[in-house]
């Protein structure tokens, strides 16, 4: 087997699970996830000659995955949908940092979080997907091609937006419940 084939197999075997989780973020449908995963593998193969080892293999493959997911969504003429599950890496950390309780009504909170994330712009969704992969700001900056402080500012703004939306929702709900009880 050629060097390229060996390198490809090694890279895919190492990064497979992380890339599959990116696919799961961008589609709820198993068939679409599989199509996206295959498309990522094809683009990984096509771009492998340009891999010089300047960045980590994981970061390099994330770039391929994100760029492919963007093209995949564009060609399918649909918005990038976002799916968050309880086993999403860094979700717990994110929820704790933002004082979002996942213990009480976990499913409901996740559904709300997913709904608000889906209302974000495509770029913000991509940043959230990378953030939920527990990547550092440095790695995210390397993947999207902007500076680290810029990533920090953008993620801070997204977190605030999500937090405000969820606080507003729970406030509205509690007002609604009080009104119902009267």
């Amino acid at each position: 087997m050629s060097d390229k084939a060996e390198q490809f197999k090694l890279l895919v075997e190492e990064q497979q699970e992380r890339i599959r989780s990116v696919c799961r973020y961008f589609s709820k449908n198993a068939a679409d996830q599989q199509d996206l995963f295959q498309e990522i593998l094809i683009n990984t193969w096509n771009g492998l000659d340009s891999f010089r080892g300047d960045s980590k293999p994981g970061t390099w493959m994330y770039r391929v995955a994100i760029n492919t997911a963007l093209g995949f969504a564009g060609k399918a003429k649909k918005r990038l949908q976002f799916s968050v599950s309880l086993d999403t890496p860094a979700l717990k950390t994110f929820a704790e940092e933002e004082e979002i309780s996942l213990e009480e009504g976990r499913e409901k909170m996740l559904e709300e979080l997913e709904m608000y994330i889906n209302q974000l712009s495509v770029i913000d969704k991509i940043l959230v997907s990378l953030m939920l992969q527990d990547l550092s700001y440095r790695e995210i900056a390397d993947i999207v091609g902007i500076t680290e402080p810029n990533v920090r500012v953008k993620i801070h703004r997204i977190k605030n937006e999500l937090k405000q939306s969820m606080k507003f929702e729970s406030h509205e709900m509690s007002m609604f419940n009080k009104h119902q009880m009267k």
């Binding site: 087997m1 084939a5 490809f8 197999k9 895919v12 075997e13 497979q16 599959r20 696919c23 799961r24 198993a30 996830q33 599989q34 199509d35 995963f37 295959q38 498309e39 593998l41 094809i42 683009n43 990984t44 193969w45 096509n46 771009g47 340009s50 891999f51 390099w60 770039r63 391929v64 994100i66 760029n67 492919t68 963007l70 093209g71 995949f72 564009g74 060609k75 399918a76 712009s121 495509v122 770029i123 991509i126 390397d142 993947i143 999207v144 091609g145 902007i146 810029n150």
Partner: protein, 194 residues
């Protein structure tokens, strides 16, 4: 998006058969190389054939203007082939491993309607125009017309067709690619914080 025809897994968590995937990818690479090799061989045959028929053909009925017309056609084919090669190279050099912002910038540039990289195509149109003006079509125009009138008529018809084609091309771009181009620019601006 069309995916390759290798064995699909039913569940997204199932491991993929990497050996069959690699073999399919290699076949695809080979097919692509063969397709382009065939295209260039066909074009070379065409150029040689046209050059022999219209430029170096010893037939005494072939006037100098016919030979010059043939030469301009051959130059147009060669220039067209060179531009096609450049375009193809640019398309295959799209690297999905580049940072997102860079990919968005180059995609937005590719889908821009009026792009300076299209300027050399004007040369091809000009060479074809010279070929048509010096070549055969003049004999189909009314005999009582002067040479100047014939040339003027050829220019009006030729550039008229080109302008209509350009307008149709622009309208097709508006329907097919403008929404994508706008979305790409919007995402690019958002990432750049504009």
């Amino acid at each position: 998006m069309k995916t390759m025809n290798f064995k699909k897994e039913n569940q997204s968590r199932n491991p993929i058969d990497l050996d069959s995937l690699v073999s399919e990818l290699k076949k695809k690479d080979d097919r692509q190389k063969k397709t382009y090799r065939r295209f260039y061989i066909m074009l070379s045959v065409f150029v040689v054939f046209y050059a022999l028929l219209l430029v170096v053909n010893p037939d005494p009925e072939l006037t100098l203007s016919h030979r010059l017309a043939g030469l301009f056609y051959v130059i147009a084919f060669i220039t067209g082939a060179w531009l096609f090669r450049r375009e193809h190279r640019m398309m295959v050099s799209i690297n999905y491993a580049d940072p997102l912002l860079q990919v968005l910038k180059s995609a937005a540039d590719r889908y821009r309607p009026f792009n300076k990289r299209f300027l050399p195509y004007l040369l091809v149109l000009l060479f074809i125009n010279l070929g048509i003006t010096l070549g055969g079509p003049r004999r189909y125009l009314p005999e009582q017309w002067t040479d100047d009138q014939k040339i003027l008529m050829i220019q009006v018809v030729y550039w008229g067709i080109m302008v209509i084609s350009a307008v149709i091309g622009y309208l097709l771009w508006r329907v097919r690619y403008r929404p994508l181009w706008l979305a790409l620019n919007q995402m690019k601006d958002e990432l750049e914080g504009k």
